[in-house]
Symmetry: C2
Subunit: 250 residues, 2 copies
């Protein structure tokens, strides 16, 4: 367990457009601010810029809403094209009531609006989640590690709501170079008692820590977390998805 | 939004027993390691030591399990006395199946086993959640602020599971001196678009960040988060509890 972490936001990431080489933009911003990556650093990147760089952006004018989307949108004063995109991004609806859509996305995430988001994009457009956030994280990791000459880890993050507690928290959608779960099972506490069921979602806690310095309106979508090197290793964001058979709230 | 945070664990907290003055123990440990609190620091304290200091510890030998607790324990090879404590700590059961109890505690938290925990306590005992975590946080805050001469914030934290995602994450049960929710509603993104529904659970993200340096087995239940001073202000942990009428997963 580390005894100290530093959470540092990276200034100077420009507006990201489809086809941009996001890893190179991040590398350039790191160079420009004089922050040299160290082995074991975790680079947390907001989903929004990953989606933009991958072209995971939908022009609402091109979307023909289904009858179901139009009906729902009309009942809750929503944009029918946005609802249509939400439905298309969903493989299963978990809750659809009171104007709120909680669904399981094709990637397996359960979240509001299938991750479809209208903030920080021009009017008339929405972003959708990256097709393969683990692949996105792996590509960022490969380029950032090669460019810096040290092995770093990457997390592609997004803010998700959760049942029972107000507010959203940042979680890890895609992970590369990091073991996302710290498993204490089999370890003993200071009283010699075996810990039975404690598995810590380290990658989600790192993503949450990073969010604290991101700022939704400040254009700081990239954060370096230093001191987490002991969790370096193989891992994916998919490892954080609870198997349906183990979940009581599907 | 801060641009950098430091997350530092505090070494040297001794084993905490009922009646111990936890705030003074923390102050002593801070002095001993040469870490002087600064205005705006957030001191995150694990629920376990708060419960111990407040005597929120139950001797299982004193617990007479109800028929229901015995039946459930027998079906899932659990300790009937532990299940009885879980039921007593619950004001409402949310799920009770497959050996898992998810309930709403008297404090309003929805979590596994009503927060009853057998780790890091002697054999034959369990801890329960503090009766009033916001009160606990406020007392710690008052003493730590008075002793250090600067106004700090405090969080009493515990690790909770969540639906859909594997692993537990640390969340804020009690809060003092900190606004736990950052509300972007009404703010505009760089495209001039009003942000509609983004409220960040800052206190939970701070608690999660702190957990990364706590260690379940390393006896480091206190963490200082530096750089979060802009969220200083009035707040409680209860503010993080979603009102039942707004929740789709009760």
């Amino acid at each position: 367990m580390p005894t100290e972490l530093r959470i540092v936001s990276v200034p100077g990431i420009p507006e990201v457009t489809a086809g941009a080489d996001l890893a190179e933009l991040i590398g350039d911003a790191l160079s420009a601010c004089g922050l040299a990556l160290e082995a074991g650093d975790v680079v947390v990147v907001a989903q929004k810029v990953v989606s933009k760089s991958e072209g995971a952006v939908v022009a609402l004018a091109d979307v023909e809403p289904s009858a179901r989307a139009r009906e729902w949108a009309s009942a809750y004063e929503k944009d029918p094209a946005v609802i249509e995109v939400v439905l298309r991004e969903s493989r299963r609806l978990v809750r659809m009531e009171r104007g709120i859509v909680i669904s399981e996305t094709h990637q397996g995430f359960i979240c509001a609006n299938a991750g479809v988001d209208a903030s920080n994009v021009p009017e008339g457009y929405v972003t959708i989640l990256p097709r393969d956030p683990d692949g996105s994280a792996a590509r960022l990791q490969a380029t950032l590690s090669a460019r810096s000459g040290v092995t770093v880890a990457t997390i592609v993050s997004d803010t998700f709501g959760r049942p029972w507690r107000d507010g959203v928290v940042n979680v890890a959608l895609g992970v590369a170079g990091l073991r996302p779960l710290l498993d204490y099972r089999g370890a003993r506490d200071p009283f010699g008692r075996l810990l039975q069921s404690t598995v810590i979602a380290v990658a989600d806690e790192i993503a949450g820590a990073a969010e604290l310095v991101m700022g939704k309106t400040a254009g700081r979508p990239v954060v370096v977390v230093r001191g987490a090197g002991e969790w370096a290793g193989h891992g994916t964001g998919a490892m954080l998805l609870r198997p349906p058979s183990m979940d009581l709230f599907r």
